[in-house]
């Protein structure tokens, strides 16, 4: 049974479909959440939030907006950033600098079975590595660190305009590289 069918069943109130979707995607969701949140206990909490939100909003999922995995991972990042920001507000701490693309590339491989993801991971990792270092840094601080351009400018000591330019160029290049993934170029 494919993900679309699972989501359809979830929208009809079939909690077993949620169980299957969970089994299938929990590692991917957990990975991005842990990367953003940086704390195992917090990450588990957020993972539950992510799948709960998927359950509640399954009826609104539109296949034309992107694959189920894209949908889930977007929810995952949103929920994780919510948590990061809430924790930051509480602790008045700065998030640790995100690992660089080299770290990403040297990380353990994605689990066998999630073929689409691992294929995508290799492409994205390669595309990230091809970016100039400062562009990659701006992109990663935004996506994985949840920092705004203003915060990135403060952290790196660069003018806001410079950060904006770097981020724009990075996204343009990534988009060019990822168009081959299907859908990324629209």
């Amino acid at each position: 049974m494919d993900d679309l069918e699972l989501v359809r069943r979830m929208s009809e109130g079939d909690e077993r479909a949620l169980g299957v979707l969970y089994d299938r995607w929990v590692t991917a969701v957990h990975s991005i959440v842990l990367r953003l949140v940086g704390d195992a206990a917090e990450a588990e909490d957020v993972v539950e939030d992510v799948f709960w939100q998927a359950w509640r909003q399954a009826g609104r999922y539109e296949p034309t907006r992107g694959g189920v995995s894209t949908w889930l991972l977007t929810i995952a990042r949103s929920r994780a950033l919510d948590r990061v920001r809430a924790l930051r507000r509480h602790r008045e701490e700065t998030v640790p600098l995100s690992p660089t693309a080299e770290d990403v590339a040297s990380g353990s491989p994605t689990p066998a079975g999630v073929a689409e993801l691992s294929e995508r991971a290799a492409l994205v990792t390669a595309a990230l590595q091809d970016l100039p270092r400062e562009q990659r840094e701006a992109l990663e601080l935004a996506y994985y660190g949840g920092l705004s351009q203003t915060e990135i400018a403060e952290r790196t000591g660069q003018p806001l305009g410079t950060i904006k330019t770097r981020m724009r160029l990075a996204m343009q290049k990534l988009r060019g590289r990822l168009t081959m993934l299907g859908g990324a170029g629209a």
Partner: protein
């Protein structure tokens, strides 16, 4: 109202907008333009997909198996309870997003039941889904783009949901407090109005007797006591009264041949005005005089202090 960014401004920032990395006001301005510009909608959709791809580049970290099972059990229990409440179906699909015929999603539910424990991902199924998605992107690109924007915007909305909920909660509490305060002040006004009406009755009724009280001094204190014999309400209105010394107060007396009856203590306003009211049944022939004396705080059972003003009742009898 959010100002919409110009087309050129928005276009520059679409990549950052897809990352939700713009300062909030700028993000709102860009999204406001995107809502009205098909070209930018398509661009933002493309960047949104790029952003989502970044999640795939993260090194996989499996969840601890015991915790993974716990979370799973909890989720399924919550979902089962939720499904029983039937809230899901009530929520329904979002109506404002164009619907492209989705392959399996619209198929009648003839597929086999979902296996409960099936941790093995359906790789081939996923590939088919992706192939379908790609095909749809080709044939209905603009539609997909528009829908993706809705998706990005919806995702951005989710980020803000909890913050907005907190804000709304605070606003609701403030509104409730304001409503309660209004009800209180309305009640107080009604009470004050009723009080004034009662006082007006007590000094204007057909059976009201008036006793004029006067004192001695440069700026003479004066007072009038209105005695409504029908309701036994006493209302004294005084002017030009100096503040009593610290620890002292004024006390009103109804003087009869046999007793001096306290009608209460009072302090004048800084301007020297005072209104004193009392209820006391008294034989209409018994009142000889009305007096105000200066007494220790709290008043005395019998007058002990200096007489401030005095009025003889017979002067008021008509």
């Amino acid at each position: 109202m959010t100002r919409a960014a110009s087309h050129d401004e928005a276009r520059e920032e679409l990549g950052a907008a897809a990352l939700d990395a713009l300062p909030p006001a700028e993000q709102a301005a860009v999204l406001a333009h995107v809502a009205a510009c098909a070209e930018c909608r398509a661009e933002l959709a493309a960047y949104g997909t790029v952003a989502a791809c970044l999640a795939a580049a993260v090194a996989a970290v499996p969840v601890d198996p015991a915790r993974r099972a716990q979370v799973r059990a909890r989720l399924l229990a919550r979902a089962a309870a939720d499904a029983r409440r039937g809230e899901l179906r009530a929520a329904g699909p979002v109506a404002d997003v164009p619907v492209v015929t989705p392959g399996p999603a619209n198929r009648p539910a003839a597929a086999p039941a979902v296996p409960v424990a099936s941790p093995t991902p359906a790789v081939s199924g996923e590939s088919r889904a992706e192939a379908r998605a790609r095909r749809r992107w080709g044939t209905a690109a603009w539609l997909a783009a528009a829908a993706s924007v809705a998706f990005v915007v919806a995702a951005a909305g989710l980020v803000r949901t909890s913050r907005e909920r907190d804000t709304l909660r605070v606003a609701l509490r403030a509104t409730e407090e304001r409503a309660a305060a209004r009800a209180d002040s309305l009640g107080a006004m009604s009470a004050a109005l009723a009080d004034k009406a009662q006082m007006l009755d007590a000094i204007t009724g057909p059976s009201v007797r008036v006793v004029e009280l006067t004192g001695a001094g440069v700026r003479e204190p004066i007072a009038r006591m209105f005695w409504d014999r029908a309701s036994n309400r006493w209302t004294m209105v005084a002017h030009n009264l100096p503040m009593p010394p610290a620890g002292r107060t004024y006390q009103v007396w109804l003087v009869t041949p046999h007793a001096k009856i306290s009608a209460g203590t009072f302090e004048p306003s800084p301007a020297g005005d005072a209104t004193v009211r009392a209820e006391y049944a008294l034989d209409s022939a018994a009142l000889q005089a009305v007096a105000v004396t200066e007494e220790p705080d709290g008043g005395m059972p019998q007058p002990t202090g200096r007489m401030v003003i005095l009025g003889a009742a017979d002067r008021a009898n008509r």
